[in-house]
Symmetry: C2
Subunit: 134 residues, 2 copies
C-alpha cells in the first residue's frame, strides 16, 4: 500500500510555504467535499470505518498523526508528518487515525458529498463485504 | 463586505473537532483546487493580487491571520481567528493576507484550476479593470 503516499510540491520563499492540490490532477478525483479535524485529543482514535464508494485524500496540514489502512487482508500504518506528505484512502479500505500531535490538523478531501449510507462502521461487516468483493 | 464571512458548523466530541465544506453547499462553488499556506513568516504579506474570474474561500484551519479585501472603492479587514470562521473572496477583489500567527495554516478553496492569465498582480491595473467593470 506504499503507493498510497503522495508527496506534493512545496513552493517556498521568504514568506513561507504553499502546496497545491488540483482536483483530478494531484488527487485522483474531483473534490466534492473537504473536511478537517482539529483541536484533537492526542490519545483519541478517529475514523474506524470504511466507505462502500467514497475515496479520500488525507493531508496533515499541521502537526502529525498516523493512519492505519486495512483492506481486510493486510494492514499498513503510515506516518503523516509533513504538510506535503498525503495519503490516498480508496473505497473499501478500513481507515483509522491515531497518535495525533497536539497541533495536528488533518484535512481530508473526498470524491463525494456526505451520505450516511456509504459508511461501514462495523469491522466484521466490513470484512464480510470485502471478502464478497474480492 | 461583512456578508463574506461564513461560520461553519463545529462537530465536536471527546476526540476533537471537525468541520465540513461541501462544494456547492457550504461554499458557493464546486471545488476545483485546494491550496494551503504554512510555515509562514509572521511578518510577511501574501496575496496582493486579484483574479479576473476565480472565486476563493479562505479557511484558517490552524492559528489566525488577517485578510484585507478591496473592491477598488472600499477596503475591509477581516480577522480569521477560529478554524470555522471562513471568508469568501469573489473574483475582481484585491486580497491581501497579513498578521499571521506562528502556527497559522490558511487553506484556500478555489473554483477553478490554476491559470496564470487569471491573475492581476498590479494594483493600478486592478483599479483600471475594476473601474471599467462597474
Amino acid at each position: 500500500m506504499i503507493e498510497n503516499i503522495s508527496e506534493l510540491k512545496v513552493m517556498g520563499d521568504d514568506r513561507g510555504k504553499l502546496s497545491v492540490i488540483e482536483g483530478g490532477i494531484d488527487v485522483q478525483f474531483d473534490i466534492k467535499r473537504v473536511f478537517y479535524i482539529y483541536d484533537v485529543n492526542t490519545s483519541a482514535t478517529r475514523g474506524a470505518h470504511a466507505h462502500y464508494k467514497t475515496k479520500q485524500f488525507l493531508v496533515p496540514v499541521s502537526g502529525r498523526c498516523k493512519v492505519t489502512l486495512d483492506n481486510g487482508q493486510e494492514k499498513h500504518t503510515f506516518e503523516l508528518n509533513k504538510p506535503n506528505i498525503c495519503l490516498f484512502q480508496d473505497a473499501m479500505i478500513w481507515g483509522t487515525m491515531h497518535d495525533f500531535s497536539d497541533d495536528c490538523v488533518l484535512m481530508i478531501l473526498a470524491d463525494d458529498h456526505y451520505d450516511d449510507s456509504d459508511y461501514i462502521r462495523n469491522y466484521n461487516k466490513f470484512l464480510e463485504v470485502a471478502k464478497n468483493d474480492s
